[in-house]
């Protein structure tokens, strides 16, 4: 063990002699009541509103998918007509001629 290691060991030995300040280890007044109340408030079953919100989100998602499926052909044709319109666009043709 070199000199530095020895002096660090002496420092640690001196630190071990420090008595911890006498401090009360019991729970402060009202602490356990507060913690128990918070724990059960957070850890409880989901509230009726939360359960209803989840169901509503699922139903809304299903309706959105169904709406897209039912109107798929209309959406597809709208995209195709957009593309056709773009090719008929005289300005686009001029730009294409320029390049």
């Amino acid at each position: 063990m070199n000199k530095n290691e020895q002096s660090l060991q002496r420092l640690l030995a001196a630190a071990r002699k420090a008595q911890p300040a006498p401090a009360d280890e019991s729970a402060p007044y009202g602490f356990s009541t507060r913690v128990a109340a918070l724990a059960f408030a957070q850890g409880g079953r989901p509230s009726a509103f939360a359960r209803l919100s989840l169901r509503a989100a699922l139903v809304a998602g299903a309706l959105a998918v169904a709406a897209v499926a039912i109107n798929f052909s209309a959406i597809k044709s709208a995209f195709e007509s957009d593309n056709a319109a773009a090719t008929d666009d005289p300005i686009a043709e001029v730009v294409n001629l320029g390049t």
């Binding site: 530095n4 290691e5 020895q6 002096s7 660090l8 002496r10 420092l11 640690l12 030995a13 001196a14 630190a15 071990r16 002699k17 420090a18 008595q19 911890p20 401090a23 280890e25 019991s26 729970a27 402060p28 602490f31 356990s32 009541t33 507060r34 913690v35 128990a36 109340a37 918070l38 724990a39 059960f40 957070q42 850890g43 409880g44």
Partner: protein
């Protein structure tokens, strides 16, 4: 450790799982000394011990259904407490390098004493020695700090540290070896720096 013989821990846990708030209060009061000792030993700067203890208990209640009884309940709670302290120590910035100028008069005197070894550190200087060691440990990573605290300051065994932290004994030994080497380096850097 709390006195498990006079306290019906198993019964209390059963009642807590059935959401009995009185049992939850009793459990907090029973475990508070254990938790607060861990929190005080590893309290980060600028964090109130009561807030940290509350966080430990909240985690305990959130995970209480996961407790299978593989380890004593007090060890399980200790691990939650140690992990919570590590998370908070990680969040605080590590102290940059320590210089003589950062030391109080008492800490500088203690350092002089241990370097020259001309006299023993007086008992009334022990608090300064502890403060100086804390400042050195503030430069370590949280896990290294905790292992030095338990092993070199509280002189706990590897098995005890393993129980308290949930780290296996080999990991504790490896961490202790690395942590001591780093502490040694920080100490050497401090004493080799020019004294202002």
């Amino acid at each position: 450790m709390p006195d498990d013989q006079s306290f019906d821990l198993a019964g209390c846990l059963g009642r807590v799982r059935r959401r009995d708030q009185t049992a939850a209060r009793e459990l907090v009061e029973h475990l508070h000394p254990l938790v607060i000792r861990i929190v005080r030993a590893h309290l980060p700067r600028r964090v109130a011990e009561e807030d940290l203890a509350q966080e430990v208990f909240m985690k305990m209640f959130t995970r209480i259904d996961q407790y299978q009884g593989a380890v004593p309940f007090t060890h399980w709670v200790s691990r939650i407490a140690v992990t919570t302290c590590i998370d908070h120590l990680r969040a605080q910035k590590r102290r940059p390098e320590l210089r003589w100028a950062d030391l109080s008069e008492g800490e500088a005197d203690v350092l002089d004493s241990v370097i020259t070894n001309e006299r023993d550190v007086a008992p009334d200087e022990a608090a300064s020695a502890k403060e100086l060691v804390n400042k050195l440990m503030d430069q370590l990573k949280p896990e290294d700090r905790i292992v030095i605290q338990y092993l070199d300051l509280e002189q706990r065994s590897i098995a005890e540290i393993s129980q308290l932290t949930g780290w296996n004994p080999t990991l504790v030994k490896v961490r202790a070896f690395r942590a001591r080497r780093k502490l040694q380096r920080f100490y050497r850097e401090l004493i080799e720096k020019e004294r202002v």
